[in-house]
Symmetry: C2
Subunit: 349 residues, 2 copies
DNA sequence: GCGTCAAGAGAAAAGGTTTTCTCAACGCCT
DNA sequence: AGGCGTTGAGAAAACCTTTTCTCTTGACGC
């Protein structure tokens, strides 16, 4: 073979073209080149287009590191999460990313797994990379991230996780969400509504239970004792067994603490030959589509609007980075009821 | 009130302490300070500790942007995915992160949603931020990302997604995984094994089906026609209905293309009063724990080892970044069978 | 014709770190 | 005493871009 082009095992790493290369190509100084490309400064139109043309031809791409160094702004934020499966943090991340991408801001995603060492490692890496801000997310509202973020010298926002004192946080309005669900059942004429939910150690369990009781009280209905268990389908099935044991009054609606429980309840009812929604209406929580749409019948459930929550968090972080003052405190964002077929149709529908 | 300390609405942004501050504090030049902190150069032990002490006291943290600019290495990689729910890309990401975090490398996660504009936006942002490399991930092996990554001048690795020509890719060994599943059923003495799987347009559907047929042929068993449908529980239930319609020979094992189908099959069988694993053994694919552990009985299924796959991808990217040559090509990583209770016990167990 | 002004472009500093080179001082050997 | 090697530390360049300041040149008004 001739000594012609050999195929490399890996694409050759060519030196990136710098502003200096562009300037030389166009026969001007780097200062002029910079101004030409940023539409700043004064120069003849001819000069400007000549420089821009050179940049285009050479494939010039400004070095963000140099820009960041100068602007003291990296256009980068870090996101911390302990939600391994991303069930909650991915929608939040999507919203954050949506809010930031048009400003050229990228997101470091770091899963810290409730491991303080790992958390410190990631936070240190972020800080050295001079992130403009940090967003802390969690899998549940009650579990704190394993690191103290309050003294970092960088804006921090909490999204869907328990904030430190005096922090800025966005969480879902769980009381409001529970209200939507229970009011929906009441409006459909259900009279004996029970609540099957997760473990008592979760704050949201109590928030939702309180709203459940409040709505029933307002409607003049009795509130049976809240049934707490795990966040699983099997607990849902077990709850259905308990509720429809031979003796005792049977409910005509079940408000579940998450979609998995609801799915378990629905499966349990079907196996007992109880019609959903005919005899019993069921509402879930989370709107986890993969569960909610595949249950039989498809599940009416509360959506926490996590994408909007993320978007809000992202936009607020941006304000903070721009130096605008933001009141600390917890902002509760409204939920939304997604009506499918597990409750029957609303009377006015 | 006196003009004492007022509480700020937001933590004050103090100027970060630089090497220069440390040097001044210790009464040396920045050059010396740098060497002291990096354990380089020569100086008296007293000088070195004095500088290190000053750095510690002042809370000095080197500016990664400046370091990156100099080293031409940002210690940052970008990850592109089109897997909105993170079902596949999050485990891959976990593996990547695991491989990189100890080298101080952080990961930009970008969801591009099959949108070329969004993809270009994110890729541009990455390139300007001078990522050391890019990892492309997809939700399925067959759907290509909506951008051409081959001419970026940056190392690119594909993980669990269809690579461009001459690229480096890590994918799961779907033939091998299917083999594990079917061989397991054969070993347990199942004789009529059917395969219920996803849509024909997926490459993996054909790969797994081929392995399924091969194993049956090797065992001298007949291979009924592969049943292709959607990746859903409802297709699994429908398939169960078809297979156990009154007439015709009934299978004694079902190999399913994913865990959701398997779950649908199991539910369908239970509703027909057919015992799993007594009468019929069922194997799934993906080891999606939330589905596999909550089905009744818990599902024996194929795990694609996505975390290891991510780890391999991350380590290979690191080699590439270090300039080590890597053969292009597709590497298939082995799967692993997770035995639960949907097939009965192996005879030797 | 001289002073004023604007336009167009470049020089230089800044941002924070690393690294190479230089320099001064000192001890030691012949 | 002169030369040499060693040790400790600093100066300066480099990385790449942006921005301010300065400078030159030509036009224009009086």
């Amino acid at each position: 073979m001739s000594d012609g082009m050999e195929r490399d095992v890996v694409a050759p790493r060519r030196r990136p073209v710098t502003l200096r290369d562009v300037a030389e190509d166009a026969g001007v100084s780097v200062a002029t080149a910079s101004k030409a490309l940023n539409d700043q400064g004064r120069m003849t139109a001819e000069t400007r287009t000549r420089i821009q043309e050179a940049a285009r031809r050479l494939g010039f791409r400004p070095n963000g590191l140099a820009q960041s160094l100068l602007r003291r702004r990296s256009f980068t934020v870090g996101m911390l999460t302990n939600d391994t499966y991303g069930r909650f943090s991915l929608p939040v991340m999507a919203g954050i990313s949506e809010a930031l991408v048009d400003n050229g801001v990228s997101v470091f995603l770091c899963n810290v797994e409730d491991d303080p060492r790992l958390g410190q490692l990631h936070v240190d890496a972020m800080l050295e990379k001079r992130v403009d801000g940090i967003i802390a997310t969690g899998k549940r509202l009650d579990r704190r991230l394993p690191i103290d973020l309050s003294k970092l010298g960088v804006p921090v926002i909490y999204a869907f996780t328990e904030p430190d004192a005096d922090a800025i946080a966005f969480v879902s309005d769980d009381e409001g969400g529970a209200r939507l669900a229970v009011e929906h059942l009441v409006r459909l004429g259900r009279r004996r509504i029970v609540h099957v939910t997760g473990p008592a150690r979760f704050a949201v369990v109590h928030q939702r239970a309180a709203a459940y009781r409040a709505v029933l009280a307002e409607a003049g209905l009795a509130a049976p004792a809240v049934m707490m268990g795990s966040w699983t389908e099997s607990w849902g099935r077990e709850a259905a067994d308990i509720l429809f044991a031979p003796q005792g009054e049977k409910p005509d609606a079940i408000f579940c603490g998450n979609d998995q429980i609801a799915r378990g309840v629905i499966d349990g009812l079907r196996e007992r030959g109880i019609d959903v929604p005919g005899a019993v209406g069921v509402v879930g929580f989370d709107n986890w589509e993969i569960v909610a749409t595949q249950s039989r019948p498809p599940l009416t459930t509360v959506d926490m609007n996590l994408v909007s929550l993320g978007r809000e968090a992202g936009m607020t972080l941006l304000s903070l980075v721009d130096g605008k003052p933001v009141e600390p405190g917890i902002r509760k964002l409204p939920c939304r009821l997604v009506v499918r077929q597990s409750c029957g149709r609303p009377p006015d529908g």
